[in-house]
């Protein structure tokens, strides 16, 4: 048995397997689990299906590193930079190898994960009608709304059941009970939809901190497979109340990834040549400290007393 508290290396080694469908980035722009992305690349994982509505440059990195053969999502690029150069090279020139794309919109992937999270046989959508996403991704079905008296097309999306979701959170206890705040994106749906959940906890706290506020828990601890205590696991993406976004870092990645050689050099410098996320934080040094949020804007307390 053993506890759930693992190093990031152990957690990725045990719980992300070659061929897995992996959610790396469920919160849209913030909380992209770059630390996990890097570790997966270090461990040389292959044939992953990278699932995310958008995941800033994380999916682009995984593609360039040769870890991914399928992408299920709505957008792959670099949020502040634009195009994903590794994504382009893989699709346009099969470098480093071909990948298959399962096109979605943000809302259709959201509802596919929602369907899996809540055990729905599928989710009916009003979106995607008129979009060529219905042509390039044959997994959708277009039917008629049986409750409508006039012809009304409805798009059905099947449940999307990832093998594992990696979710950065502000704080967690060692048993996988956690708090997350700020925009939630799809973290609840992605976690509940997945067979395994790996938390990247910015702060490891006592169980009592989490039970002090059960309404701030996005998904229950009993569903969590592993907990890694990794501050700044989302760097260079932001985490509400903890870390600001490192836009220059992402812009630098964007420039470096323009050419394959430069990308590989970038990968050596920031991923393969770095032992782990602790070493990555050390390497960032004062730059990371600059990004740390130091002000305090606390939430008003909520009372849960029973007497």
């Amino acid at each position: 048995m053993g506890g759930k508290l693992l190093s990031l290396g152990e957690a990725m080694g045990r719980h992300v397997n070659d061929g897995d469908a992996v959610v790396l980035g469920a919160c849209l722009e913030p909380d992209v689990p770059f630390a996990a992305t890097y570790e997966i690349i270090r461990q040389g994982r292959k044939n992953l299906n990278a699932i995310a509505p958008i995941s800033d440059a994380s999916t682009d990195m995984l593609i360039g590193a040769g870890c991914v053969t399928q992408v299920t999502g709505a957008w792959v690029g670099n949020v502040s930079g634009g195009l994903g150069h590794n994504y382009r090279r893989a699709v346009e020139k099969q470098i480093p190898h071909p990948i298959a794309i399962h096109d979605h919109s943000n809302f259709s992937i959201a509802m596919a994960l929602t369907a899996a999270a809540h055990g729905m046989p599928y989710a009916p959508l009003r979106t995607l009608l008129g979009s060529d996403i219905l042509r390039s991704n044959p997994r959708f079905k277009v039917t008629e709304n049986p409750f409508s008296e006039t012809a009304e097309p409805v798009v059905l999306v099947p449940p999307l059941k990832p093998d594992v979701a990696v979710i950065p959170v502000q704080r967690a206890d060692k048993d996988g009970n956690c708090h997350h705040w700020g925009n939630a994106g799809l973290i609840q749906e992605a976690a509940l939809a997945s067979d395994r959940i790996v938390l990247l906890a910015d702060e490891l706290v006592a169980a009592e901190v989490i039970t002090s506020d059960p309404s701030r828990v996005p998904f229950p601890g009993y569903r969590v497979t592993a907990v890694c205590h990794e501050p700044a696991a989302a760097h260079p993406s932001p985490m509400t109340g903890r870390w600001r976004r490192d836009t220059p870092f992402l812009d630098q990645y964007h420039r470096a990834s323009r050419r394959r050689d430069d990308f590989l050099a970038w990968l050596d410098e920031w991923v393969l040549g770095v032992a782990d996320h602790h070493a990555y934080r050390e390497k960032l040094g004062g730059r990371l400290e600059e990004l740390r949020i130091k002000d305090d804007a606390p939430s008003a307390p909520a009372n849960y007393a029973a007497k």
């Binding site: 849209l28 913030p30 958008i54 949020v79 809302f107 939630a184 976004r245």
Partner: protein
């Protein structure tokens, strides 16, 4: 164009976009220009406008610090609602969003937008980043407001791939699918196009100061027709410029 009374092209576009937002409306804001437009609208004619962000945020007042993404810390601080994507886009699907902004790499004369594939999707010449939430906004918002750079290669006769539906093949093609809404304005760096006539084809409606109808048409990839009355886009008013200065403290859009 520095100095008092002057404005940049981006500032004109922001102002034009702001004018598309009506007071009390619920608007999918997105990033970059539209977020500044939302701020200007709130400070001028639309103090009751509400901004939605698909990452799961709703704001009344725009963030007071620079945003690179909609999920940056300044957009979280002081938000009216921090929730999930489903809750926010659910409002869109429920028909409760008045307007939404999107950008795009390619748009065609019926307002269809491509942000996915240039060339055949099974073997594309260029792979663009993809859809994000744009198809959802395009399909389900009350009015679609597109912001584009006005280049012949971007404003094309027919997009290779419809990521986000406009009026599709024109006329009633969109309505036949049960989709309400549709493109209401395409704001470019040269002009504003609007659908006109039974085909809902985009027509030239407004030319920005310093540009001409001819130049706009030369830089459009289809035979762009003029709306019955083509106006000059009014430059930002004093009040709008004051709002712009408040919204864009760092002068990013100068």
């Amino acid at each position: 164009m520095p100095g008092s009374g002057s404005y940049s092209t981006q500032e004109l576009m922001i102002t034009a976009a702001a004018r598309e937002i009506r007071d009390g409306e619920v608007v999918f804001v997105g990033m970059r220009l539209p977020i500044a437009a939302f701020g200007v609208a709130r400070l001028t004619h639309a103090p009751g406008a509400v901004g939605l962000f698909e990452c799961g945020l709703v704001r009344h007042a725009p963030a007071t610090d620079m945003l690179y993404t909609m999920g940056d810390p300044p957009n979280q601080l002081g938000a009216a609602w921090a929730t999930g994507l489903v809750q926010v886009m659910g409002q869109l699907q429920a028909g409760r969003v008045d307007a939404g902004f999107i950008g795009g790499a390619e748009i065609d004369k019926f307002g269809n937008i491509n942000t996915s594939y240039i060339g055949d999707f099974s073997n594309p010449r260029i792979k663009l980043p993809g859809s994000g939430g744009a198809p959802d906004i395009a399909a389900m918002a009350g009015r679609l407001l597109a912001i584009m750079n006005h280049e012949k290669r971007r404003l094309v006769e027919r997009v290779d791939y419809v990521t986000s539906p406009g009026y599709l093949g024109g006329g009633g093609a969109r309505a036949e699918l049960g989709l309400a809404g549709g493109p209401a304005a395409v704001i470019t760096d040269r002009a504003i196009l609007r659908p006109h006539g039974p085909l809902n084809e985009l027509h030239l409606a407004s030319v920005h100061p310093g540009h001409t109808e001819e130049e706009v048409k030369e830089n459009t990839g289809w035979d762009l027709k003029s709306a019955p009355r083509v106006v000059e886009t009014p430059p930002p008013s004093k009040e709008e410029m004051d709002a712009l200065f408040k919204v864009d403290k760092e002068g990013f859009w100068r």
